[in-house]
Structure formats: C-alpha cells, structure tokens
C-alpha cells in the first residue's frame, strides 16, 4: 500500500471557503427553491469525471457528518482521496448515504436510498446526478417554487414521478453538468 497520496487530491478546494461556500449555497438553494431553474455554481474542482458543479456542491454541503456514496466511475481512487482530504465524509453503500454522486445509470434504483420516515421525512438521501446535458426543456414541472410551469430534461421521468408520489417521503435531486446545476425536490409534480 502506497503511503503517498496523489497530489491531485490536495487541490480543488475553495480559495476562500467561507465566501465561496456562501455563494455556492445561494446558487444551490435558489436551484432547489425553484425546481427546473438552471444556476451557475463554481469554485471547486475534483478528479475526473466529477463536474465543477458537483465538486462545488460537495464542498458546500458535505463533511464528516454526511455519509457519501460514490457510484460507478465516480468511485475511483483519486476521488476517494479527494473526498478524504477535502470532506472527510465516510464512503458508504447506497442505503446508508445522505448524499450520493454519479451518473443516473450508475446510481441505480432509487429504492436503494434512504427515503425518510413518516416521522422524519428529512432523513432521506440527496442524489447528485451528473448529466451530459442540462437544458430547460423536456419534462413539465409544477409545484412549490414554480409559478406556472417549468421544464427540465429529466433522465427518467417515470421513476422520478414515482418518487414524487411518495411525498412527503422521497429523494431530492441535484442535476449537474459542467458548472451548471438544477434541482428537483420530491415536492415537484412531473408531467
């Protein structure tokens, strides 16, 4: 076992953490409070294939208190080192994760993640889904945060509809692509 950590793991953090995290959180909050709206978020970098938006979101929300699941190609040696150095988040299986990161295919079935309980619906996972494209067209979204209707290219509208049908239980999603981010909370009605 090598004692030496790849130096790539040591870079990519925020330059000025309090200010960068504050700006990133506001973008993330704005995205979640207005489902479908695409915001720009940057300041963090993580090893490939993690996008700038996903890296920034992890630096903003995750730490030693948030078990994290890395799925598929996002679960690589360099990324594990990066998580250990910057976040200190325990890497866990889907069922134990508060946050999960990967492509839609790699993240797998949504029922593998914590859905919250009737007493504590907040104890559910947030999935960060890396998309190759993020555009404000496709599935029609309605619900809290949306005045009339919004639109977003959702990876699997049927599965996400099932998730929304569980409200107030269910998962919340961030979709990331380069430095762009959009969100889909469980409260959003699809179609």
């Amino acid at each position: 076992m090598s004692a030496c950590v790849d130096t790539e793991a040591l870079s990519g953090g925020f330059d000025t953490p309090p200010v960068a995290a504050a700006h990133a959180f506001r973008a993330a909050m704005s995205a979640l409070a207005r489902p479908g709206r695409i915001e720009t978020i940057s300041g963090g970098r993580a090893p490939a294939p993690v996008s700038v938006a996903a890296a920034t979101l992890l630096l903003t929300l995750c730490d030693a208190e948030t078990p994290l699941h890395l799925a598929g190609a996002h679960d690589n040696r360099a990324m594990r080192d990066w998580v250990a150095f910057h976040l200190g988040a325990p890497l866990v299986a889907p069922g134990d994760a508060m946050f999960a990161l990967g492509t839609w295919e790699a993240l797998g079935g949504l029922d593998r993640y914590a859905q919250g309980t009737p007493d504590y619906p907040d104890r559910s996972a947030t999935l960060i889904v890396e998309l190759s494209d993020l555009v404000a067209s496709g599935s029609r979204l309605r619900g809290p945060g949306i005045r009339d209707a919004a639109a977003l290219n959702l990876p699997d509208p049927v599965a996400l509809q099932r998730n929304a049908a569980q409200f107030p239980l269910g998962l919340d999603f961030y979709f990331t692509c380069d430095s762009r981010i959009a969100a889909l909370p469980r409260s959003t009605r699809i179609g």
Partner: protein, 288 residues
C-alpha cells in the same frame, strides 16, 4: 472583520444549517430539526433567524432587519449591527434595496420579489404545541396528517367569541399537506405568505428550521361558514394616512389619547416622503 469567520458561525455549523434549509425547502412546511448553536444573544431574541441568516448571507447581500415592522427597535438594531460587524454586509432600512430581510413577526407591506429572501424569527415552531405538549405526539400527528385538534381549537374560538379570535400565529396548511405556524405574524399578513421570495423560518431555542419556496400554496385554516378574515384596525395611519397597511396603536399621553400608525416604518416613511400626510402628522411633528 478579521476577528470573525464570515457571518460569525464556523463553516461546519453553516453546512449543517444549510443542509437543514435545503430539506426544509424540499418538504415545505415540515419542521427540520437542526443542532442550534449558542449565539451571543439570549434565546427569544432571534437566535434561530440569526443562524439562518448567517448560513444564507453572502458578502454581496444587502441586509435589512425588522422587529414588528420597525427597523429602529432594539432587536432589529442589534441584529443589524451584529451582521455589519461579523459579515461586513451592507445594510439598509429600505425594503426594495434589501436582498435578505430578517423579520420578527411581520411581513413587509411592499411586495417582495424573486431576488429577495425573507428570514423569520420563530419562537414556537410547532403549531400544535399549545394543544398537545408532547413532541412525540405532535410529530406523529404531522406524520399521520391528523390535524383535527387544530380545527377543534378554531371551532372553540367561534363557540366562545362568535368568530375565529386567533389574531396572530394563525395556522396555515402548506401545499395541502403540513399544518404550519407562520410565526406570530398578524393574520393580516397571512395572505402574503404566497409570494415570489424564498421564505425561511428559524427557531433557535426549539431547534427547528422550515421553509416555503416561492409561490408555494399556503391556505389559512378556516370553515366554510366562517371563512378566514384578514383584520386590521379600522383606521388610517395617523402619520401617512395609509388605509391598507397594518397599524400599531400608540398611547400618546396619560389622558388616553392615542394614534394608529403603520407598523412597517419603512413603508410609512416612503409614503410621507411621497407627500402623503395623515390626520395627526402635524401633531406628531410637534411632539418630536
């Protein structure tokens, strides 16, 4: 500035609060537990709102604080100064210029926009608390959507007073699911809870955060034959003459003279600057 981390709280605490805010926005009206910190002010002075504001502010923000609508009361002044010192943010008393507004028990008269965030200080976040003291029970009641008790309370109001006498902290139902305490705002403000701005609620002592995303459906509880009624003192503001704002009653002297003035000081000032004059404007001028 160098003495404090930006916005006072440490980064790990802010992350914890930010995660709670996001879950709150994802489940509108549900009270998310959070590990509320000791703040350099007593409980009851807005520690919940202050923590939510600290986690929300960026250096680019312009911050406004109101206490019962007023920018110039002790609570509002000290919280504004707190963030001037620890976050170095610009502050204002003008509603339109603010990007983040922390409020104790009022919603500003001026309609808020998509670019603004309203942070409420909440004393008792649980709307069922005075009906059911057990947290275990109220949590179950929310889980089962068992809100009959709240309607019994409103019914008893009618039986006793002939109308729903609840005048502030008037319970609402959010998106047809959670019954929520809008904090002790007058029920005059309830219709404004459906707005373009993000609304965040922080209860420091009770360790709860909840939220309303923009345009969330918020319905004040009522009965078909006793519909929700918005009430205000049937007067015009003595200073600016407004007949559509929420009014405070001010006792003028030992002889019991009184006047009604806008509780929203910025709204009242702006109207007076525009040339509006109330019936007692001259008399009030003479007093000062």
């Amino acid at each position: 500035m160098s003495e404090y981390n930006f916005a006072y709280l440490d980064e790990q605490t802010k992350r914890m609060i930010r995660r709670a805010i996001l879950k709150g926005l994802a489940i509108p009206g549900y009270q998310v537990p959070f590990a509320s910190r000791e703040m350099p002010m007593p409980y009851g002075w807005g520690t919940g709102g202050v923590q939510v504001s600290a986690a929300t502010l960026t250096p680019d923000d312009t911050f406004k604080v109101i206490d019962q609508g007023a920018d110039d009361t002790t609570n509002a002044v000290s919280i504004r100064k707190f963030f001037e010192k620890t976050a170095g943010v610009a502050t204002t008393e003008r509603t339109a210029e603010a990007t983040v507004i922390q409020t104790r028990h009022r919603i500003p008269e001026q309609e808020l926009t998509e670019d603004q965030i309203l942070v409420y200080q909440v004393p008792i976040p649980e709307p069922l608390r005075f009906l059911e003291p057990s947290e275990v029970e109220t949590r179950k009641m929310h889980a089962l959507e068992e809100y009959g008790l709240m309607h019994v309370k409103l019914y008893e109001d009618i039986a006793r007073h002939g109308e729903i006498a609840t005048a502030y902290a008037y319970p609402v139902k959010v998106e047809g699911r959670y019954v929520m305490d809008p904090s002790p705002i007058p029920k005059f403000d309830n219709p404004k809870l459906e707005m373009a701005a993000i609304q965040l609620f922080g209860a420091g002592r009770e360790q709860r955060i909840y939220a309303l995303p923009p345009y969330t459906k918020v319905v004040s509880l009522d009965f078909e034959d006793y519909p929700f009624e918005r009430t205000r003192a049937p007067q015009d503001c003595g200073l600016c003459g407004a007949n559509d704002s929420y009014l405070d009653e001010v006792i003028m002297d030992d002889a019991g003279r009184r006047m009604f003035v806008c509780s929203d000081t910025d709204f009242c000032r702006a109207r007076r600057e525009d040339g509006h004059q109330g019936a007692m404007a001259a008399a009030a001028e003479a007093l000062t």
